[in-house]
């Protein structure tokens, strides 16, 4: 099977195999990405992030259905944590989305973080591109359950939605740096639980104090995802934000920044592995390590010399 050709024709197995090649960094992955790249740049990428158990998957399920009702095709990348000890993972986000499995306009892929700490996996951005080239109109990227500082999603998404639930801390939590700064749109899920209105007030206070605030004030919507309440309003908020960033040149800026990051990521990883491989092949790696261990030299000097040597 020619993966790229089949993927572009709409073959779902080919899309699936392409993502595997990307995720496992198979030799052909680079070639696949090169050929898919010209077909990307059309999808709207929606990031969904928030603490564990906030209802991100349930919300994704409901939002995806609403977009499907508008006739849009949907891709979903759902990320769950990989064990740092065994490398294994339980990827359980599909449980909340079983109703979407048989819809041919929806493609769901679960990914483990595989050592990445920013809330995504290293290969999430490339998996998004594969779905984009496949022709998905909207791609949801659901992060792992995050704590305070896993903010990689802003680099991958056009619009980032932060999902919060009542009862997770007092108002000092709301003025801390981190995930609360990255929300373009806020959703207070499980709004039938105690403390939802208090959380809305605290979030509003946080936004009132935001000295960096642009013309866009992130809307805060109370939602009960499991009962489909507040979904229409949430979609409206997302669309308003997308309209705002499109009209103000912010989308172009974000996508330019993303293109730069994409290039730098590939640059760093390719140069890094090129040099590492050379060092291993020539046996220099062990030699340098021994010298550094014996304090005969230091890592900084070694790297300066290696770079002078190899990157002429």
């Amino acid at each position: 099977m020619d993966i790229v050709e089949e993927l572009l024709k709409g073959n779902r197995l080919a899309l699936s195999r392409a993502i595997t090649a990307i995720e496992n960094e198979y030799d052909e992955a680079m070639d696949i990405m090169k050929k898919l790249y010209p077909h990307t740049g059309h999808a709207f990428v929606l990031g969904i992030t928030g603490p564990p158990g906030a209802g991100k998957s349930t919300l994704t399920d409901k939002l995806a259905r609403a977009y499907r009702a508008q006739g849009k095709t949907v891709g979903i990348i759902a990320i769950d944590p990989t064990s740092p000890f065994t490398g294994g993972a339980i990827l359980g986000d599909r449980i909340r989305m079983n109703g979407l499995t048989m819809d041919e306009g929806v493609f769901i892929r679960s990914m483990g973080t595989r050592g990445s700490l920013g809330g995504l996996s290293h290969k999430t951005a490339d998996a998004v591109k594969a779905m984009d080239a496949f022709g998905k109109d909207i791609i949801f990227v659901e992060t792992v359950g995050v704590g305070q500082s896993e903010v990689d999603i802003v680099k991958a998404a056009d619009t980032t939605m932060v999902v919060l639930i009542p009862g997770m801390g007092d108002d000092i939590q709301a003025i801390k740096a981190g995930i609360l700064e990255i929300g373009d749109v806020f959703t207070i899920n499980k709004a039938d639980h105690d403390g939802a209105d208090k959380l809305v007030r605290e979030m509003n206070m946080m936004l009132d104090l935001d000295g960096l605030m642009t013309d866009w004030r992130p809307p805060i919507q109370k939602v009960i995802a499991s009962q489909n309440e507040g979904i229409t309003e949430t979609i409206e908020n997302i669309e308003k934000h997308f309209k705002y960033i499109s009209e103000n040149g912010i989308l172009t800026k974000r996508r330019t920044e993303r293109s730069k990051n994409e290039m730098l990521d590939v640059l760093h990883s390719n140069i890094g592995s090129y040099i590492t491989n050379k060092l291993v092949e020539t046996g220099k790696m062990d030699e340098y390590v021994e010298q550094i261990k014996a304090r005969e030299t230091d890592p900084y000097t070694v790297v300066s010399n290696v770079m002078k040597d190899m990157l002429k």
Partner: protein, 129 residues
Amino acid sequence: MAKVRVLVAKPGLDGHDRGAKVVARALRDAGFEVIYTGLRQTPEQIAEAALQEDVDVVAMSILSGAHPHLFPKVVNLIREKGMDDVLIIGGGVIPETDIPALKEAGIAEVFTPGTPTGDIVDFIKANVK
């Protein structure tokens, strides 16, 4: 780096997923990526999830007695989608006398109550393609 991906699924209508969860956890601890889809899956849903997740293994658990019907159906649907190399295994309350027919239908191995989870891990490691 390739990682073994396993779909753990509960086809049919019985609501007992303790066993499936124990197996899912054991597979996780063996270093596999386990996609757990939850209860009451149709064979069509399982086959489609296997395709979207590009899994190497599909592990199904049934306690209702519907295995002679549902297991072969999943095998056929997965093969129809062009996934010829997916290892498909089953478990649950399955009478010994039913096992030969299930294997004939394409279930690579059947694990009945009392099986140490390590046996399942070893079987997957030995047979995954």
